[in-house]
């Protein structure tokens, strides 16, 4: 009888552990086994196609305005002062070919109420990151990432980014970074790049590249500093699936890297992901060499309790693998 009781206890414990384990697996099982694009690295001494065109046009004695017009006609853009360049058009708010966004506060505010406390609660954001600890040794990263469902809804998460960052704050604490990833604004999933507080204010901001191809395909993302410092800062290039998309400047040559799942909500409720974001084949660029990223990472989050985001990280194929997904509504 007592042995049966013991066995019963053991069975219950095993069952509980199995349920916990399987609930974890259930999310992971939704990842496609689509082939990775591999650990691609940008070619040495890469010169972006916009810079090549600009050099050609300058040799033809074209003015900056003429060059800008010629580039625009070819789906390219540049900043004549800093040399920053990008593919496509940095989309203005009036354009219709970008994901349409509704400011979540717009309906709640009828007029500025100076010096009054509004009834609108501050928007909260929650992130799950894999960070490189306290190390600022990197001039680039490469990673294959499937963005997952990047879930949003009218009552839950209103903005959702699955992204990658590289940068280093200025000495006064002001952050300086650039990034590439996938955003969800009102149900539209887009590849995007972004610069935040870079040394040239006019360069900062958004680039919506195009709609994403698949929630589960592992697209290759890469940002690399080329080691060149000009009067505006350290030059970098951003690539998606081995295609150059943007160049700009960072304030530091050596930077920190992280991968992040960021969710925003004004309601205090979040939208559960049906498919998790998945980063794999992570590599770091340092001292002119690409290395597998398999040590020194630490996980951090915004510390909210309870935490609506879940995560997992482990080593596979000698590189960190990182998964993150919204698992709870609050």
């Amino acid at each position: 009888m007592r042995r049966k009781v013991t066995n019963c206890f053991a069975a219950i414990i095993i069952a509980v552990l199995a349920v916990v384990f399987m609930s974890n697996i259930a999310v992971h099982a939704q990842i496609n086994s689509s082939p990775s694009t591999g650990q691609w690295q940008p070619p040495a001494n890469f010169v972006n196609p916009v810079a090549i065109k600009v050099a050609e046009y300058k040799a033809m004695n074209m003015s900056d305005d003429q060059i800008t017009a010629a580039l625009t006609a070819q789906g390219m853009g540049w900043d004549p002062i800093t040399g920053a360049a990008w593919m496509g058009v940095l989309i203005a708010p009036t354009e219709t070919n970008a994901p349409q966004v509704v400011d979540p506060f717009a309906e709640n505010i009828t007029a500025p109420v100076s010096s009054q406390t509004s009834s609108v609660s501050p928007q909260t954001n929650v992130e799950a990151d894999v960070l490189m600890g306290s190390s600022y040794n990197y001039m680039g990263f490469g990673v294959d990432m499937s963005c997952g469902s990047v879930a949003t809804s009218s009552t839950g998460t209103n903005t959702h980014y699955v992204t990658t960052h590289i940068g280093k704050a200025y000495s006064d604490g002001t952050p300086c970074w650039t990034e590439v990833g996938v955003c969800n604004y009102d149900g539209g999933l887009w590849f995007y790049t972004y610069e935040g507080n870079t040394p040239v204010p006019g360069e900062s901001g958004w680039q919506y590249v195009c709609a994403i191809n698949s929630e589960t395909y592992q697209n290759a993302y890469c940002i690399q500093l080329n080691g060149v410092q000009d009067q505006y800062g350290w030059q970098y290039n951003i690539y998606i699936n081995e295609q150059w998309e943007r160049s700009g400047h960072l304030q530091a040559q050596l930077n920190s890297v992280n991968f992040a799942d960021e969710i925003f909500s004004t309601t205090g409720s979040y939208t559960i992901d049906s498919i998790n974001a998945h980063w794999v084949n992570s590599e770091l660029y340092s001292n002119g060499v690409w290395n597998d990223w398999n040590s020194g990472a630490s996980f951090q989050n915004s510390g909210n309790n309870p935490m609506p985001l879940s995560y997992d990280d482990y080593i596979y194929s000698n590189c960190y693998v990182y998964d993150a997904w919204t698992s709870q509504t609050t």
């Binding site: 042995r3 500025p112 954001n125 704050a169 935040g196 960021e262 925003f264 915004s302 510390g303």
Partner: protein, 184 residues
């Protein structure tokens, strides 16, 4: 060993196994509960505070923005087990749809909502002291919480600066990010 004593021996053996199993279950349960309690306590900032007389250096509009620092108070306390200088700042957003914060090609039609990040610089006898902002260290990419304020909205924000210095004479509230969209 006769049949009776063998039966008794097996019974005793079975009894021992039950005791061991029960012991393991109790230990595992106790360790789990203890771990959860410790984790929970570690995540809750202590509310034991000691008021500071440090002076605020910069009331008014922050760094040329339309974010108005209405007031701030400070105290010494503990956050996440670390000694801290804790600032409670009240901020008002005076951006409007007509005069929005930077939009940087975002597709949002701005209503004047501002997404901001705040930290602080601390001074002791006019010398700046080193202190990390640990309000929410995992908040990428700002490193501090990202707060959204609708046009005209006023809110109160806590800033936790890790330092064991108990002679902070003054402090400055620093606006490290302001945009018209959720900063990615």
């Amino acid at each position: 060993m006769n049949k009776r004593s063998r039966k008794s021996y097996l019974f005793m053996k079975s009894k021992t196994r039950v005791k061991i199993a029960a012991g393991i279950i109790i230990i595992v349960t106790a360790v789990t509960i203890l771990s959860l309690v410790v984790i929970n306590l570690a995540q809750k900032p202590s509310r034991e505070v000691l008021t500071s007389n440090a002076k605020l250096n910069n009331a008014g509009y922050l760094a040329g923005s339309k974010l108005f620092l209405v007031s701030a108070n400070a105290a010494y306390g503990v956050h996440g087990g670390q000694a801290c200088f804790i600032i409670t700042a009240t901020i008002r957003n005076d951006y409007t749809a007509q005069q929005p914060p930077p939009m940087d090609n975002s597709t949002i039609n701005s209503s004047g909502t501002a997404y901001i990040g705040l930290t602080a610089t601390l001074y002791s006898n006019n010398a700046q002291i080193s202190a990390n902002d640990i309000t929410s260290p995992g908040s990428a990419p700002l490193g501090v919480p990202q707060i959204a304020l609708a046009s005209g909205q006023t809110t109160t924000i806590e800033i936790d600066m890790a330092t064991s210095n108990r002679n902070i004479s003054s402090y400055t509230i620093d606006l490290i990010a302001v945009e018209g969209y959720s900063i990615p």
